[in-house]
Structure formats: C-alpha cells, structure tokens
C-alpha cells in the first residue's frame, strides 16, 4: 500500500466510519435533512405555480437551484463544526486518545482520518440530495457546469471548516470550548466578513473622497480578500456571475471569485491541518534554553 493510500485508508478511518454509521441518529439526520429539502422544493414549486401567471419557468428553476445550494451551504456551515470540533478533544475526554497516540498511526493519518470520516457523512448527505436537483434539470435554467461549481464550493467549504474544527479540537482540551470557538470562527466568516467588507469599502471611499475630492479607481485588494473569505457571498457571486464583478473591476481586482475563494480556503485547510498534525503529539525533543 502506498504512503498516500495508507494515509487515506487506515484503521482510524475504518473505525470512525464504522462507529459513525452504526449510530441511528446519523441516519435520522440524513432522513430529516432530505425531508426538509424536499419540503422546501415542493413549497417553492407550489408557490411559483399557484401565485404566478407564467407557471414554473426556467428562471424559477434557477432560483430553486440557488435556494437549494444556499440551503446546503447553510447546512455545511452549521453541521461541520459540530462534527469536527470534538474529533480529537472528544477522544481526549473519553480517555481514548493516549492509547491511540501510543500506536504506530502517524499524526497525519489520525488527523486526516478524523477529517475525512466527518466529511464523508456530509458528502453522503449531499449525494443523497442529488435527486432533488433533478427537479431543477427537469425545468432547465441551470447547466451541469454550474452544478459542478456549486459542489466544488460546498466541498471546499466543508474541507476548510472541517479543518478549522479539527485544529481547535486538537489545540483546545475541552470539546465544548472547541465547538464554541469553531462556531465563532464560522460566524466571522459568514457574517463578520460582510460587516468588515462594508466598513472597509466605507473607509476606502471616504479616504478617496477626502484626499482627491472624488472616487477613483485604486488597486485596493483588501475588500476582495475579505469577501472571498465569505463562502455564501463567494458562491452566490460565482453562480450569479454578473453581481459585483464590475464593482471589483472598478477598484482594480479582476480575479473571478472562485479563484480567490479556492486559494483562500485551500490555504486555510492546509495551514489548519498542519497545525493540528504538529500539535497532536507532544514534541519529544526538548527546547534548548537560552
């Protein structure tokens, strides 16, 4: 078995999947999720067909797609911290971590297994919801490429949030504090970045007007960086390609949102996972004094 294979397919991952999927509440979670998504779809179609004169059009289909996509993103942002923020601290609290750490499993394989087993559950949820998207295809309005972009966003978002959760779970001893910290980070990414964006734009515009007497095109990249950190805004603007692109071109940024988002969330995933791997086991080498 290659090194990469043993990192991805290993006893910890097998154990995690076995234990996770043996639990009835996980199946109940998927059932409820699909029931809610289905109900939302039916309610949307009902509203559009009953209260509009032109029936269910391709435009309505696109809106339903956006609604489903944003709903699933909300689900990921809401559920992923709960699934990952106790991954290591939970083992520590259950007093099973020390035993695992004395085995031959590497820190990398333990951390990646914990992350992937949590994400597999979410991926199962997303895959299980695929038939709902067939409703959208039935009425047209959305290309398969758009669906792929959407799934790319969802996957990268869960990867980054999951990694943040695992990192806090490794650094913080108690699950409850780790979970709160991870949710706090999510709150910043989803709400805080929008507020920060508005403040920065306000400052930039105010500063430009104060110094030159009128707005002008600058190379301010900060608002863009702040906004690509927001998965909801980033995904929405990538699916609705016309929004905000012109405004960002005005301030000198001509990168598509998905590029910035991929770089930012890829970096977050990488950095947080490296920290978690580094901090899982104590460094046995003593620090040199002086």
């Amino acid at each position: 078995m290659s090194r990469l294979q043993s990192l991805l397919i290993n006893p910890v991952l097998n154990k995690e999947i076995k234990l996770r999927f043996r639990s009835f509440k996980n199946f109940l979670g998927i059932f409820l999720f699909l029931a809610i998504c289905g109900a939302v779809c039916l309610a949307f179609i009902y509203t559009e067909t009953q209260f509009s004169y032109d029936g269910f059009t391709a435009e309505d289909s696109k809106n339903l797609f956006l609604l489903l996509s944003m709903g699933q993103l909300g689900l990921i942002v809401f559920i992923t911290p709960g699934l990952t923020a106790g991954a290591i601290s939970g083992e520590r609290e259950k007093q099973t971590l020390n035993i695992m750490l004395t085995t031959q499993q590497s820190s990398t394989s333990i951390i990646l297994s914990k992350l992937f087993s949590s994400l597999l559950y979410l991926i199962l949820m997303l895959v299980a919801s695929l038939p709902l998207y067939s409703i959208v295809f039935l009425y047209g309005g959305v290309s398969p490429q758009t669906v792929l972009i959407m799934f790319g966003y969802l996957f990268l978002t869960m990867l980054a949030i999951g990694s943040i959760g695992i990192m806090f779970s490794t650094l913080i001893k108690r699950t409850i504090i780790s979970t709160i910290t991870t949710y706090g980070t999510m709150l910043f990414l989803v709400v805080g970045t929008v507020i920060l964006f508005l403040i920065i734009i306000r400052l930039i515009v105010g500063f430009s007007q104060g110094t030159t007497g009128g707005p002008q095109s600058t190379d301010h990249i900060l608002p863009y960086i702040v906004l690509v950190l927001n998965p909801a805004v980033s995904m929405l603007f990538s699916l609705e390609t016309n929004s905000l692109v012109y405004e960002f071109q005005q301030i000198g940024v001509d990168w598509p949102f998905w590029v910035g988002f991929t770089i930012a969330y890829g970096a977050i995933t990488l950095i947080t996972l490296l920290i978690a791997i580094k901090k899982l086991r104590p460094s046995m080498r003593r620090k040199k004094k002086g």
Binding site: V12, K18, Q95, T102, Q104
Partner: protein, 310 residues
C-alpha cells in the same frame, strides 16, 4: 532494557520528576511504588512517548524516547491508569482496530485476537460491546490490547485500581503468565503486597526521586534501619523492662495495650546481637515465652515513607 538518565519534568514551578536515574534489565518485572503525585505516572507517560521530559532522557532497548519515539512505540504496550473505550464497538473489533493501528496484517490479527482473549479470559465476550463490559473486564481487555503487537516492554499504570478482590486475583494471574512469557513489565500499584508477590525488583519513588531500589528484602533493609522485636513474658514484666532498657541496641520499649505481658522493642542491633540478647535474657532469669521479630511488609513500609504527606 530500560535506562532512565537524569529524567526531570517540571510543570511550571512544580517538579514532578527530579533527576530520576534507573536501570531495568530485560525480563524483569519491576514494581514502581510511591504515594500519589510521586512521579510514577509522569515517568510512565514519558516512557510511553506521551510526554516530553524537561531534562534527561530514557532509553528503551537503546532507543532514545526523545529522539525516536516512533521506534519506541513499536517496543511498548501501554496501559494507562485511566482509559476509556469506544461505544458501539465489539471486543474483537476493538482489538482488531488496535492491531491494524500497529500495522499487523489482517490474517495475523485473526489468529492473534482469540489467543489474547483466551489469555485475559474474555473468550466468551468476543461479540460483546466493549462499553458494556465490567471494569475488571475492560482492564483485562486493555491489557490484551497492549499485547496485540507482542511488545517487549509492558508499561502498566495502576492496572489493579478500582478492581474488586476477584478481579485483582485474575489480573495477578495474568501478570504471572506474562512474566513466564519473559516480558519486561513495569507496573505501578498501591496494592503493595501484590507487587511484592509478582515483582522481581521494586523502586520506591517520592517527590520525583528514587529513594530505594532493589528486591523486596533489599527495599526493606534500605528503608527500615530498625526492626521491632516482640517479647512475651509470663511473669515479672517490670524486671524484663529494666533488663532490656540496659541494652544499648534497644532504642525504645513500648508495652502492648491489649496484652500487658507483651513488650515491643525498637531494636537496631544485628542478628548476632539479637542472639546474644536472647541468651543473656535467659541467663538473667527472665521468663520469656516468645521472642520474635515483627513481620513488616511493603504496606508498612509504604505507610512509613508516605506518612509525611498525611
């Protein structure tokens, strides 16, 4: 097998281990004795590569725990003082998971797991969920888990704690079998008579320092400078008291509260001095019914060395 060199661990201003030096030969069953907070679990955690020392190091089979912890993990089986088990995991799955974690091939695991379950008397629990086992069974299962990769060294931190008498006897039996299998075992326990029964060597640790090391008899000699002689006379106890008071090796005489013809002498003389004392007492006409040395055990020694903490 184990070489501990100047091992020191500080937690802030508290020193849990203070330049501990210890050497344990291969195949030895070594008992680590000491009060709570003496540094036993800290030593075990460092040997198990779960904790970095502040100073010094330890070698297991010549491998430095601070430099090559991954290699050390292959050599050790660790049973911590407190441990948990996974919910919804069956006994054979539990062992299979840890076997796979040590990289043991599937076929080999299938062969080894029943043997281990037989060793720890859990064969009939193969398909039981681990979280439903009793404390004693979990303890034995954890021991089987620590043996899954056939380690040369077993580190057992209080394996008998919280067990009822029957479970302790069973645990002791398993440890004897492991001793016969020529495993090197280091074990800490507060059940000191049990340690003295199964251990080849003992180390007494207090405040992070090793204060005695050797076999049971050597430990007693190291920690016990004076012995207690019990003298029972049939008549004239006052005469006996004045006789023994004159002996320079008798440090203190106390009369037994229950038996007014029984004296307890704190005695610092050698065995030859003791023979001479008895001979002289008989010549002196004392009506001695018995003269015996009070049997002390590890429990007494443990109480003696830990009384300062109370």
């Amino acid at each position: 097998m184990i070489e501990i060199v100047n091992l020191t661990k500080h937690y802030g201003s508290f020193t849990a281990l203070d330049h501990l030096n210890l050497s344990i030969e291969k195949g030895t069953v070594f008992g680590f004795v000491g009060p709570n907070g003496a540094g036993k679990s800290t030593t075990f955690s460092i040997l198990a590569t779960l904790l970095a020392p502040s100073e010094g190091t330890a070698y297991i089979n010549g491998i430095d725990v601070t430099k090559d912890p991954k290699q050390v993990r292959k050599l050790i089986g660790y049973v911590p003082d407190f441990f948990g088990v996974y919910d919804k995991f069956k006994v054979h799955e539990y062992l299979d998971f840890y076997g796979a974690s040590y990289g043991i091939p599937n076929e080999e695991r299938k062969a080894v797991i029943p043997q281990l379950l037989e060793l720890v008397n859990l064969t009939d629990k193969t398909d039981s969920y681990v979280d439903l086992l009793s404390r004693g069974m979990k303890q034995r299962l954890c021991l089987a888990r620590a043996l899954i990769h056939d380690p040369e060294l077993l580190i057992l931190d209080e394996p008998a704690s919280g067990l009822d008498p029957r479970a302790r006897v069973e645990m002791r039996g398993i440890l004897r079998e492991l001793k016969n299998m020529d495993k090197t075992i280091i074990i800490s326990s507060h059940i000191l008579p049990e340690l003295s029964e199964i251990c080849d060597e003992l180390g007494v640790i207090e405040n992070g320092q090793l204060i005695a090391h050797g076999n049971v008899r050597q430990i007693e000699n190291q920690l016990q400078a004076q012995k207690v002689l019990q003298v029972k006379v049939t008549e004239n106890i006052e005469h006996a008291v004045s006789f023994f008071e004159d002996d320079p090796n008798v440090l203190e005489i106390t009369r037994d509260e229950q038996d007014d013809m029984l004296l307890q002498l704190s005695y610092q003389g050698t065995e030859e001095d003791q023979v001479a004392l008895l001979k002289k007492a008989v010549e002196h006409g004392l009506a001695i019914l018995t003269l015996s040395q009070k049997q002390t055990n590890l429990e007494d020694i443990f109480m003696e060395i830990t009384k300062g903490d109370e």
